[in-house]
């Protein structure tokens, strides 16, 4: 898990609020269903059947007068483990929004199957579909709160839709307001709330019917960095304490780094890579992944090197190696070993060390004499450090 030092409350909300929310959660646990938020086991259990399964899913949008037919998704196979946080990252137009909307039946696949908690959503209609839709909650980039309703009123909407009676709706809504730390904003209209507060209302609303799955559609993309952190912390809490599976889509790699367990990279309607979070950052294989990961692991060649990179070695030239240390290898003094064992000058050009999913990940770009390249690669392999030749300079 990534760094957990971020505070749960947004901005200067006092600690007492957080603890009040925690008490609320304990109270919620004591209540009978459907007052209980925690319907699924809070421990992530990867061995059991995935809660969401995409099997060979495709989605085409038919041609219209103004536009040609579009293949939004193509051959998607993806499992979302129960009680996990899975992130889907992709550029705009990659098909992320379509993908996530297949899960709660807002879109229907053109081919393949989307199975949510054992039920194929596209096979359902009418009442059965609406029933199934209540097992997923969704939050949005622009919150999509009713401007005509207060925070409380927005949270009660899904419960009214589900046909609950007033007393139960009221009890449930108060608990949810506590959970997201907005008990004091109960009667505020969205226009009177900050972006972070609106998204908290959105989260409370999404959790109202005790869903097993929370879908997050760029939920932090309209928020400033600090607020983003507090919302991500709340989502993590929802996952850990309530056991809610979160499927989120984003174009922001730091969101992935911050809260996801697994990640899938979507590019032009296809999943080009999926991995555990650490592996994605440590060993990105697809070019799209690399360019996303690069903004975090941030070790691009400095311009004075990038500008004069050669495809092959020159006599007396220098080879540029990208070294990636993961896990235990991070403890090994690989660079000094290069100098000592090979008797060469290994020069660090740039580098970065950080923790991802709680594990250290270090990336360095090192210059070594081109003649020693083969020996250096051999030594590094022996030390368990991944090395890649980026190019040569004269």
């Amino acid at each position: 898990m990534p760094d957990r030092s971020i505070s749960l409350a947004e901005g200067p909300i006092p600690d007492s609020l957080t603890s009040r929310a925690e008490i609320a959660i304990k109270n919620i646990d004591l209540l009978e269903d459907p007052g209980s938020l925690a319907e699924t086991a809070p421990q992530p259990d990867m061995a059991v059947a995935p809660i969401i399964r995409f099997a060979g899913v495709s989605k085409r949008f038919a041609a219209r007068r103004s536009s040609d037919a579009v293949v939004a998704l193509d051959g998607i196979d993806l499992d979302v483990p129960r009680s996990s946080i899975l992130g889907i990252i992709g550029r705009s137009g990659a098909g992320k929004s379509t993908l996530i909307r297949l899960v709660n039946g807002l879109e229907r696949p053109s081919g393949g199957r989307v199975i949510v908690d054992g039920v194929e959503i596209a096979a359902l209609k009418g009442r059965a579909l609406r029933q199934a839709q209540r097992a997923t909650g969704m939050i949005f980039q622009h919150f999509n709160l009713l401007s005509s309703r207060t925070a409380y009123g927005n949270i009660t909407l899904p419960l009214e839709i589900a046909g609950w009676d007033r007393a139960r709706i009221n009890a449930r809504a108060e608990l949810l307001l506590d959970l997201v730390g907005l008990a004091d904003k109960r009667n505020r209209y969205p226009a009177e709330l900050s972006g972070g507060q609106k998204q908290r209302v959105g989260i409370a609303r999404a959790l109202a019917t005790s869903p097993k799955v929370l879908l997050s559609d760029e939920a932090t993309s309209a928020l400033d960095p600090e607020t983003t952190q507090s919302i991500l912390a709340l989502l993590t809490r929802v996952n850990v304490e309530l056991g809610v599976t979160i499927l989120l889509i984003t174009h922001e790699i730091h969101v992935i780094k911050e809260i996801c367990h697994r990640v899938a990279v979507l590019d032009a309607g296809q999943i080009v890579e999926q991995a555990e979070i650490f592996d994605l950052f440590a060993r990105p294989s697809h070019p799209t992944t690399r360019s996303f990961v690069q903004t975090i692991t941030g070790v691009a060649l400095p311009e004075e090197f990038a500008g004069r990179l050669l495809p092959g070695p020159k006599p007396g030239g220098t080879a540029l190696l990208r070294l990636t240390y993961t896990g235990e290898a991070a403890e090994q003094p690989a660079i000094s070993r290069l100098g000592r064992d090979l008797d060469i000058d290994a020069n660090i050009i740039t580098g970065q060390i950080q923790r991802i999913a709680g594990r250290p990940l270090s990336v360095f770009i090192v210059a070594v004499p081109a003649r020693a390249e083969a020996a250096a690669l051999q030594l590094l392999a022996k030390l368990g450090t991944e090395a890649e030749v980026m190019g040569y300079v004269a």
Partner: protein, 221 residues
């Protein structure tokens, strides 16, 4: 101004208000659902039925493009059928309603179309029925705008109601034509105009204030 004339003005005002109130009510009863349907029944929308939408839209346009004074005359047989006569205040309510209904429908359609589609999507994701979405999302969110639309409709109908005076409709327009114009009583004409101005002013500011109170999109501190 003689007390008789004053009495005439008062009763004409009452007639006008009665005509407009009844026509607006009936027009809203029909126009509101029609407008909601027009706003939600195109291809891919909540109540998608593109053909019915196109047919109703055509009908609405036909009614709306007929000049009101021609409409009044054209539907005289229908008016007779409904109220038994084509003359008088109640007879005037029929063409007023026929004009108001499609007008209100178009205004409501526009108001409902302004509602953020993201809200409809959110409600659909919650498993809401189309009727729930219409009631709890579309109408609730469009309410301030619908109030302004209805205000506009009432003001327009006051104008229309003056026109039915030419065919024996009663009300302020009738008074203005028969006394102010045909009997050369400019003071009656002036009084009619003043009353109309005050009426429109009062209705507009009432509508504005109500809409503002209902509108929660504005930040209030």
């Amino acid at each position: 101004m003689s007390p008789e004339i004053l009495n005439l003005i008062v009763s004409a005002t009452v007639d006008t208000l009665r005509m407009v109130a009844i026509a607006t009510t009936l027009g809203t009863v029909g126009g509101l659902p029609l407008g909601v349907f027009l706003a939600t029944s195109r291809r891919g929308e909540l109540l998608a039925s593109p053909r019915l939408n196109a047919a109703l839209s055509l009908l609405v346009n036909a009614t709306r493009s007929t000049p009101f004074i021609i409409l009044v005359v054209a539907i005289i047989p229908f008016t007779r059928l409904v109220v038994g006569t084509s003359i008088g205040t109640y007879a005037a309510i029929v063409p007023l309603t026929v004009a108001a209904l499609p007008f209100i429908a178009r205004l409501v359609e526009a108001s409902v179309r302004e509602v953020d589609p993201g809200l409809v999507e959110a409600a659909r994701g919650m498993g809401a029925t189309p009727l729930q979405i219409i009631r709890k999302v579309l109408l609730a969110e469009a309410l301030p705008s619908i109030v302004l639309s209805l205000t506009l409709a009432v003001v327009s109908l006051i104008g229309f109601s003056a026109m039915v005076g030419t065919v024996g409709g009663g009300g302020l327009g009738d008074l203005g034509i028969r006394f102010g114009y045909q009997r050369f009583m400019p003071d009656v004409m002036a009084a009619v105009v003043v009353v109309l101005i005050l009426l429109v002013q009062a209705i507009q500011s009432f509508g504005d204030r109500l809409a503002r109170r209902l509108n929660r999109r504005l930040r209030r501190d």
